[in-house]
């Protein structure tokens, strides 16, 4: 475990980045003002375990400014963000930034939990699960948690089914304002652009296999196709596979698609969706990356067992597949948009992090009376934010009239 020494010069660089992101986050700015006025999170200990970068730093600072006692944990796979860490430290936020892989992540996440947060804002439910395993006393006294991703909501729902979830968890991901935008446009745009930035290759004409056609998979497929790629989707759910076909993509099993796949995006959030057998089918030089979930979707252990990877370029390593061919793994299989780029675009995170802030506010006000389980955010929170965003984009909403209301009720 290494605590980074505070560096004021680095803090200035980080502050610039945070301020730049803040320019594109008017909704979060408005919530920050409201929280400061109402004092609803004042004095509450909030632990943030979101991917630490300039946008999430704006959330941390918004809560801090509103009087919350904020601590942040950042996982090592999410890349070194020393400047953002320093800028947050300068503002009095405690940061536990892991840099040394999985073991260090665990140490740092435990350190976050040792600050006894009353509310946890999590991404992938890593810290929520850790708290349940190792900090039962803490969990018993917590108000609740907020989960950002589908990958995190899935195991939490399983925990709840098994009677193990002790906390009310607000699922930001289940908000339409989150998954329709963040997962599709945010993750879609940023993952595909990160691939192009890292490789300096062209995507027009390339055969791309997208594994998983949830919201993230749809976004990745959409942006690849927009840039001219020929997209094939692999999906367990026949309805989603059929939807992929109607969106102009091909739908095939991974085994069927692998022999011609030049680029593979795993977008499932599920471990082991690409197996060693699949990898052996891929053409020589195929590119592997993940969107939304993480390296656990790829057969990294198998690839590492075939010999040491050869670094070809920054964030590109060549691994042997064991069949005389090689594959190029981007960012060691970690989420490409976070590890090899700056994460989701700012405006998208304004929506998602405004939901996070609203969820934290809701927990602070009413979390103590919520039962353990996965809860959705009230529609009113989402629609209020959507109206603001539409207006900021120069749009307007069709007003409801008594005539329309009447017409809609007729039968």
């Amino acid at each position: 475990m290494t605590i980074l020494p505070f560096d004021p010069a680095l803090a200035a660089v980080g502050k610039n980045k945070i301020d730049w992101a803040g320019r594109g986050m008017p909704l979060l700015g408005a919530i920050a003002k409201r929280l400061s006025q109402t004092g609803s999170v004042n004095g509450i200990r909030i632990g943030i375990a979101l991917v630490l970068e300039p946008k999430t730093a704006n959330l941390a600072l918004a809560l801090k400014t509103a009087g919350a006692d904020v601590s942040v944990f950042s996982a090592s796979a999410d890349g070194p963000k020393a400047d953002v860490v320093a800028a947050l430290q300068a503002e009095g936020v405690t940061v536990f930034a892991a840099t040394g892989g999985a073991a260090d992540d665990l140490t740092m996440a435990r350190a976050l939990l040792n600050t006894a947060p009353q509310i946890l804002l999590d991404d992938g439910a890593f810290v929520i699960r850790l708290a349940h395993r190792e900090f039962p006393g803490l969990v018993a006294g917590m108000i609740g948690a907020v989960e950002q991703t589908a990958s995190g909501v899935r195991p939490l729902a399983e925990m709840h089914k098994a009677g193990q979830l002790q906390l009310p968890v607000l699922s930001v991901n289940d908000a339409r304002l989150k998954h329709i935008f963040d997962n599709v446009y945010g993750t879609g745009q940023s993952c595909v652009m990160a691939l192009l930035d890292v490789t300096n290759l062209q995507i027009a004409g390339r055969r791309v296999l997208v594994i998983g056609y949830g919201w993230v998979g749809r976004g990745v497929a959409l942006h690849c196709a927009a840039l001219g790629a020929r997209v094939t989707v692999a999906e367990l759910d026949p309805i989603k596979a059929l939807q992929a076909i109607h969106n102009g993509h091909a739908a095939r099993s991974v085994s069927d698609a692998a022999p011609t796949a030049e680029v593979v995006f795993a977008a499932t959030g599920i471990a082991g969706v690409l197996t060693p057998d699949h990898v052996r089918l891929l053409p020589d030089g195929a590119i592997l990356c993940t969107a939304g979930g993480g390296a656990f979707e790829l057969p990294m252990d198998h690839l590492r067992s075939q010999g040491p990877p050869r670094p070809l370029r920054r964030d590109i390593a060549e691994y042997q597949t064991g069949s005389g061919k090689s594959v190029l793994v981007i960012a060691e299989g970690h989420r490409i948009n976070h590890t090899a780029a700056e994460g989701n675009p700012i405006e998208i995170m304004d929506l998602s992090l405004s939901l996070q802030a609203s969820a934290a506010e809701l927990l602070a006000l009413a979390g103590r009376s919520m039962s353990p389980g996965i809860h959705r955010l009230p529609d009113t929170i989402e629609t209020a934010l959507a109206v603001q965003r539409v207006q900021l984009s120069g749009g307007s909403i069709e007003p409801m009239t008594p005539e329309l209301e009447h017409a809609m009720r007729r039968w």
Binding site: W20, G24, Q189, S190, N200, L312, R313, E342
Partner: protein
């Protein structure tokens, strides 16, 4: 310049080599057709100046020419786009490189004259930058030039102007006018990478954002098309009525600067001229607008005028300068230089495989063909051979037309009475 025996230089060389090796891996036309064609010995001892944005793809072209026996002199075509590691790798393998990374306009002018003083026989030029300077500052050496192959729309216009003024005493090939160049490089290459660089430098969202593209040539078309496909609300400013109508038919909103600029979140210039966004346009810009340039000239966004009129200038992020104009913040990417190269990694490798095939085979054609002074286009046969090689490398087979599939022109005019 670093001493060659230092660790720092060795590290740079290794970095540069890895970058060039990556290009080689994805450049089947250069490694196949072009290498083979150039290996006939006709380039032995020929001095060729390569004056193109000096990054890994250009370095690979220079290497192939050197492998074919040419004496290659390498210079960057813009001081902001020269890559230090690539320069080191080229020097390490014995090429003459006159450019350094992180230069400015003054050092760049000196570098170009240095390149001229190596007395090239031929130039592979970008923007006709070296050709123009040799004509102006090294007239004797200019008269000894045997030919120029030009990369860009801007440079082609400059060469045509020189020819019209009687100032072009040698044949020039406009690589830009080859279909394998402008159909792909200008449209897909610049289109993809300009959007890529804007998004990377700003971390902003494109879906739903109002994007203005100034100029609707091949470059402008590519940018507008990619932006639209990624969800932007695209607007086009274009002075040519035919192109403006084309932009309208392509689904973009078309109009004058005063109507298109207000409310835009990103403005991309792609006219190939200067001051597309100049002082008269500044007042139409909304606060927080991002200005980026995809054209050859660094003054397409008039950063000089912005500097004069701004109350203050700040640098919020790498590659972004923010000018405070009245109550508005105007963000300029990469100092107004070509954003996809100065603020990104340049064109995709596969695109430059085509463009540099045109340049490499163009140089070979210039050396081996007697051409009259003036501006020429690469013969269609060579152009076609590049596309055929690319298709072949991807395992794509196409049909040959059969005689009976063609319009029977002869039959139609046979027996036609003479008017």
């Amino acid at each position: 310049m670093l001493a060659h025996n230092t660790d720092e230089f060795r590290d740079l060389v290794e970095d540069g080599r890895a970058r060039i090796a990556w290009v080689e891996k994805h450049a089947p036309v250069l490694t196949g057709l072009v290498r083979n064609t150039l290996s006939d010995g006709s380039l032995k001892g020929v001095r060729i100046a390569v004056v193109v944005h000096l990054e890994a793809k250009t370095a690979f072209l220079a290497s192939i020419l050197a492998d074919a026996g040419a004496e290659v002199i390498v210079a960057g075509s813009n001081p902001r786009t020269t890559h230090g590691a690539v320069v080191a790798a080229l020097r390490d393998r014995g090429l003459t490189v006159v450019s350094e990374a992180d230069g400015d306009m003054a050092t760049w002018e000196k570098e170009l004259l240095l390149a001229a003083d190596h007395q090239p026989h031929y130039i592979i030029d970008d923007g006709a930058e070296l050709t123009l300077r040799m004509a102006m500052h090294r007239p004797e050496l200019f008269r000894q030039l045997k030919g120029v192959s030009e990369e860009t729309t801007t440079g082609t216009a400059r060469l045509l102007a020189m020819a019209a003024a009687g100032n072009l005493p040698f044949p020039a090939l406009t690589a830009n006018n080859a279909r394998c160049k402008h159909l792909f490089d200008n449209r897909y290459g610049t289109g993809q990478t300009t959007i890529q660089a804007i998004l990377r430098l700003t971390n902003r969202q494109i879906a739903g954002a109002p994007y203005v593209v100034v100029g609707y040539g091949y470059v402008g078309r590519g940018i507008a098309e990619y932006a639209k496909r990624m969800g932007a609300q695209t607007r086009v400013i274009e002075c040519d009525p035919v192109r403006a109508l084309e932009a309208h038919m392509d689904g973009h909103t078309v109009g004058a600067a005063r109507d298109m600029l207000p409310g835009a979140s990103v403005v991309v210039t792609a006219t190939g001229g200067m001051r597309a966004i100049g002082s008269p346009e500044f007042r139409f810009l909304s606060t927080d607008v991002v200005l980026a340039n995809a054209g050859h000239h660094d003054l397409e966004v008039d950063v000089d005028a912005l500097g004069h009129e701004a109350l203050s200038v700040s640098a919020p992020r790498p590659g972004i300068q923010t000018y405070r104009l009245g109550a508005s913040d105007i963000h300029v990417l990469s100092g107004g230089a070509l954003v996809n190269i100065a603020g990104g990694s340049g064109h995709p490798v596969e695109i430059m495989d085509l463009t540099f095939a045109v340049q490499g085979l163009g140089a070979h054609y210039l050396v081996n063909t007697k051409l009259a002074p003036g501006v020429h286009v690469l013969p269609k046969k060579i152009d076609d051979s590049i596309a055929a090689a690319k298709l072949q490398s991807m395992g794509i087979h196409i049909d040959q037309p059969r005689q009976e599939q063609q319009d029977d022109v002869i039959g139609l005019i046979k027996g036609m009475p003479q008017p």
